[in-house]
């Protein structure tokens, strides 16, 4: 829409003094990122003498140390193993659930929907402790399956809520037309309705992936052995290690945030749109 081109604002004239303030605020938000990159890419000697000075030397030594000695290479792989399946699970289940809650009449629909979205109200730590003992008795501690399932469950409430809003907006005539043409319920869902909500699915996918990638507490609690430890908990434990070496720590931080930042910049529109519809819809 080209009407976005013109500034709206408090009147018809653009606010001329806004840019200096906005640029100053941008510097404040971007400075910690610059600091991370600069510290990570220094020579180890330089870090020791001048830990937080900006771009005073260049070397990839810290990155190499973090990747191999700090095991961040393994952590990257684990982060994918924990966030990709859980994200897929959230997408599949919330799309199906959202569709059912929006368009299929069944008994107890409202009650069940409230039970599912209860997770939006209840913070994770309200039940994290009993869940630990439950996973232990189910032999799911330290397992990829267990942690993926828990990560998925933390995203399902929002996912179902979000997808239901998308399905609820579709006009009923499309559904009826397909039914008149003799389509089965499954065909209606897969061939008719699903293609109409792809933008919602895309936004939910990016959002859920970021959540699961960034999740810290779930893997910290439910992978006590350290097998399959992802970047976030890996970074935390690395920070608490006996020799707090800032160079490799900065490099590890960089490795942890780099995929998030790249994904975010590439899909900036979908991410922000996703947050918008999630907060404003329903």
């Amino acid at each position: 829409m080209s009407r976005q081109r013109r500034a709206a604002g408090l009147g018809r004239k653009p606010i001329t003094w806004a840019h200096p303030i906005l640029i100053a605020m941008s510097m404040l938000t971007l400075f910690p990122l610059v600091l991370t990159v600069s510290t990570a890419l220094k020579t180890p000697q330089d870090v020791r003498v001048n830990p937080f000075g900006l771009f005073s030397s260049f070397s990839t030594d810290n990155l190499v140390t973090a990747w191999t000695v700090g095991r961040f290479g393994d952590y990257v792989a684990n982060s994918f193993l924990l966030s990709v399946p859980s994200t897929l699970l959230v997408i599949v289940l919330s799309t199906m659930g959202g569709y059912a809650f929006a368009r299929l009449p069944f008994r107890g629909r409202t009650t069940l929907f409230y039970l599912v979205v209860l997770g939006l109200l209840v913070p994770f730590f309200a039940y994290m402790i009993p869940l630990y003992f439950q996973l232990r008795s189910m032999q799911l501690l330290n397992s990829l399956i267990g942690v993926n399932l828990v990560l998925a469950s933390t995203g399902l409430s929002f996912g179902t809520f979000f997808m239901r809003a998308f399905f609820a907006e579709l006009p009923g005539e499309i559904e009826q037309a397909a039914r008149v043409d003799g389509a089965t319920e499954l065909q209606i869902f897969l061939r008719v309705m699903l293609p109409l909500v792809t933008s919602g699915i895309g936004a939910l996918a990016v959002f859920t992936f970021l959540q699961n990638w960034n999740n810290f507490l779930v893997p910290l609690l439910y992978i006590p052995s350290g097998e399959y430890r992802p970047l976030t908990t890996g970074l935390y434990l690395f920070m608490g290690g006996r020799t707090v070496d800032i160079g490799p720590l900065a490099a590890g931080t960089l490795i942890t945030i780099l995929p998030v930042v790249v994904l975010f910049i590439a899909l900036q529109r979908q991410v922000t749109q996703g947050f918008l519809s999630g907060a404003v819809k329903g």
């Binding site: 913070p123 998925a152 990638w213 970074l235 404003v280």
Partner: protein, 282 residues
């Protein structure tokens, strides 16, 4: 439906278990823990550390809700009123929100570092040496230092939501107000704010509930220290359960936090519904 199965096993069942844990004294091992009735609750009420953490949560909720709302709204109004750079500012302000909190905590730890951190260096450079301190190690500043970091990481979210809401504001009304000679503050207060009220309340709800549930950033930056100065209910529940093996006590505390936050969520949600029904814009 598999959705209900996952939500049931990993959300509702542990939540029910949490309620059970609250009425017994479970140490993590005993298969048949003794029933203590309201014992955990009465102990909580007398625990001075709980009250201290509660006070910190209240500070967090007030400042941590008001500051991001004010900054986010102000910046959204500014970006709304300029002709160029909207995409850059959206990227710059929103990026802290998508970063993992562990990484955010580590980098801000460097900025707050007493001897060579940027904050103290800047203070020294401008002649405010007297203010320089070990931000995270000083009991008087630890909570606020962490809170500032959290505000840094969340105002971008508020900003993006408000920016979208502003697109629906009726420009004719603003023009009319300009003709009537209303100043900028009056235009915001009487024309713009009422039109974005439902969104305003939605964002307030999200940040408010987030204030009860705060955990990661405090855990990573100070662990609640020094000497409990930045302890919040979430970190106290965690350390009671996993640090002291007082599983039931920690669970009870987590439940109490949840129950306290729910009335706010429901109340604000009602208010928002009513405003939307009255047709207040978005």
């Amino acid at each position: 439906m598999p959705l209900l199965l996952v939500v049931g096993i990993f959300l509702l069942f542990p939540l029910a278990n949490a309620v059970y844990f609250a009425f017994v004294d479970f140490d993590g091992l005993d298969p048949a823990p003794p029933w203590v009735g309201l014992g955990n609750f009465t102990e909580l009420a007398q625990d001075r550390a709980v009250w201290a953490a509660f006070r910190n949560n209240v500070v967090w909720i007030i400042i941590g809700t008001v500051a991001p709302l004010a900054i986010g709204l102000w910046l959204a109004l500014l970006v709304w009123g300029v002709e160029r750079g909207g995409i850059f500012y959206r990227l710059a302000f929103f990026i802290p929100y998508v970063l993992p909190q562990v990484a955010v905590g580590i980098v801000w730890g460097w900025i707050y570092e007493p001897s060579r951190g940027w904050l103290n260096r800047v203070l020294n450079a401008v002649g405010l040496d007297g203010l320089a301190t070990g931000w995270l190690g000083n009991p008087n500043t630890a909570l606020y230092a962490v809170l500032f970091t959290a505000i840094w990481a969340t105002f971008g979210f508020v900003f993006v939501i408000f920016l979208a809401a502003l697109r629906n504001v009726d420009m004719e009304l603003i023009d009319a107000a300009l003709l009537d000679g209303a100043n900028a503050f009056a235009r915001v207060r009487y024309i713009i704010l009422p039109q974005i009220m439902p969104v305003f309340i939605a964002v307030t709800t999200i940040t408010l509930i987030g204030g009860f549930a705060v955990f990661d950033i405090v855990f990573v930056m100070t662990g609640g220290g020094p000497a409990g100065a930045s302890e919040v209910l979430g970190t106290y529940a965690y350390s009671s359960a996993f640090g002291l093996n007082r599983i039931s006590y920690g669970t009870t505390l987590a439940l109490v936090i949840t129950v306290m936050s729910i009335p706010f969520a429901v109340g604000l949600n009602r208010l928002q519904r009513r405003l939307s029904l009255e047709g207040g814009g978005a």
